[in-house]
């Protein structure tokens, strides 16, 4: 099985001291890879570096055979990499429909963009009902659906998700995890899933990576993380 996303020895940070140090992760095509770790472990920094919002000072990221150092942030979505940032990034001043359309604006083929939009509306019934509501009128769960839906309008190959469960009820979190599983199984979507909610994340993930203080400390199958009590105690605290 080939890896659609290869992170090789990436070092990155905001100022003098790097936050990420020599991070290497390989995400096989069509899998869900959970990235776990305490607050401040560098998970968000990792995703920001992947999508080029932050430039790595060392190492490289290879996506679908292409070195991402040479790709502009604006271009990633055209290549099939979608990033749902921490806090979801719903544009609260725009309506639901406008937010969703943003996900397909890069397409030259307008009809195709239209179809992708309709697919997402079918996937998320509640969004259909709230099409013309402003983003700031949505509940937390609806916002998460919107952010996820907007990324799916781009029909990405890889989805970078930063803490989708943040502030959501367990039932809604479970729905989202089920959806990710369904997308992986039906469409072969690859997901890099950053989560604090370890149980939920491991319930759908194929692979598990644990980060601590900017380094990868464990990289193994999700099954093993679920089953190995010692690992769980040592790194995940339960």
């Amino acid at each position: 099985m080939s890896a659609i996303l290869e992170i090789n020895g990436v070092t990155a940070g905001y100022g003098a001291a790097p936050v990420l140090q020599d991070v290497s992760i390989s995400v096989p095509t069509g899998t869900i890879c959970a990235v776990l770790g305490a607050n401040g472990a560098g998970k968000t920094t990792l995703l920001r570096t992947l999508s080029g919002l932050l430039k790595p000072t060392a190492g490289q990221v290879v996506f679908d055979g292409q070195d991402l150092r040479e790709v502009k942030v604006e271009h990633l979505i055209r290549l099939g990499l979608a990033h749902v940032p921490e806090g979801r990034g719903v544009v609260t001043e725009l309506t639901v429909d406008e937010n969703l359309r943003l996900g397909g604006l890069w397409r030259k083929d307008r009809a195709d963009a239209r179809r992708a939009l309709d697919e997402v509306y079918q996937l998320f019934e509640p969004l259909q009902r709230r099409r013309s509501s402003a983003g700031h009128q949505l509940s937390g769960g609806e916002r998460q659906m919107l952010a996820l839906g907007r990324a799916l309008v781009a029909r990405p190959k890889v989805l970078l998700l930063d803490e989708p469960s943040l502030g959501l009820a367990p039932r809604v979190t479970a729905q989202i995890m089920a959806l990710l599983r369904q997308l992986r199984d039906d469409t072969g979507l690859t997901v890099l899933l950053v989560e604090q909610n370890v149980r939920s994340a491991l319930s759908v993930a194929d692979e598990g990576v644990v980060m601590s203080l900017g380094r990868v400390v464990v990289s193994t199958s999700a099954e093993q993380l679920r089953g190995d009590d010692e690992l769980r105690h040592a790194y995940l605290g339960f």
Binding site: S51, V73, P85, V91, T92, E93, L94, E98, G103, L105
Partner: protein, 292 residues
């Protein structure tokens, strides 16, 4: 009664220009969180371009097109060449650099054209049409109102109905998310400046023929009036800018008509202070605070 009526019409036409100009300020404010203090000077520069073209070709309309295109180019230039490099962490910096742009533009047009008033004619008669013995709107006033209405409608369509408009709004509200979604945020910013400067240029073209003529400082008072209009409407609200412009136009016209002909500057100051101190949110703004 006749006086009130005719003042009202004059005020509407004058206010329409302020609306356009305030709209230009709001466009840049929404795109970049910058109050463009160079807006007046930029409009003056494009009006000089129009002056030269009209003089060479003998056509007002070619001059008008020159101002419009000049505005687009100048706006893009100021953003790409200057404002982009400013450290935006302190709002003071933007204002100071914009003032630097004012000095440079004023100096350049002064060097080329001199500091005296140049004659600047409108395309239509400015004498009011008589309706039942009362002078109401002049053909020129109609031209002004029509042009501003056209600008407002075109901008509204652009922003609400087109993909470019959606991109521009998204990049203004959430630049990082927009970049992740493939929007060329830097390009949208440049486009916003260009559009705003073009709208400002049209505002200048409309107002200068009604004043003493073309002069490096011809837009100073218009700028502060339009700033007042934008503040009245709330800097974030395009609709507010249009209404605020009309409001300021009416207030200024009534006060010059009923109090004294040279009261305008004082009236602007009073109006601005009253609005800022009494309704600090602006009349149409959704955000309450002015802590910028």
């Amino acid at each position: 009664m006749d006086k009130l009526l005719s003042l009202t019409f004059i005020g509407l036409s004058r206010g329409a220009v302020y609306s356009a100009f305030a709209l230009a300020l709001v466009l840049i404010w929404r795109a970049a969180r910058i109050v463009n203090f160079a807006q007046g000077a930029m409009a003056v520069a494009t009006a000089y371009a129009a002056y030269s073209v009209t003089k060479a070709t003998d056509s007002y309309w070619l001059g008008f097109v020159a101002a419009l295109v000049g505005g687009l180019v100048l706006g893009a230039l100021v953003e790409r060449g200057v404002m982009r490099f400013v450290d935006h962490s302190a709002p003071l910096n933007n204002v100071i650099v914009a003032l630097g742009v004012v000095l440079v533009i004023t100096a350049i047009v002064g060097m080329i054209y001199g500091n005296q008033f140049l004659p600047f004619e409108g395309p239509f008669d400015q004498r009011p049409l008589m309706v039942g013995g009362t002078g109401l709107l002049s053909p020129y006033d109609l031209f002004v109102l029509g042009t501003v209405l056209l600008i407002v409608v075109l901008l509204a369509l652009l922003f609400t109905r087109t993909p470019v408009g959606l991109r521009m709004r998204a990049s203004a509200f959430a630049p990082e998310v927009s970049r992740l979604l493939g929007v060329n945020v830097a390009g949208m910013l440049t486009l916003g400046w260009a559009l705003a400067a073009a709208v400002g240029a049209v505002g200048g073209m409309l107002v200068i023929p009604t004043e003493l003529g073309l002069h490096p400082h011809a837009m100073d008072l218009v700028f502060v009036s339009a700033f007042t209009a934008a503040v009245v409407g709330g800097l974030d609200s395009p609709v507010g800018a249009v209404i605020g412009g009309i409001f300021v136009g009416l207030v200024l016209t009534y006060s010059t008509g009923y109090i004294a002909s040279d009261i305008t500057p004082v009236a602007i100051l009073v109006l601005l202070l009253v609005v800022l101190l009494v309704r600090p949110g602006g009349l149409f703004s959704t955000t309450a605070a002015r802590h910028v």
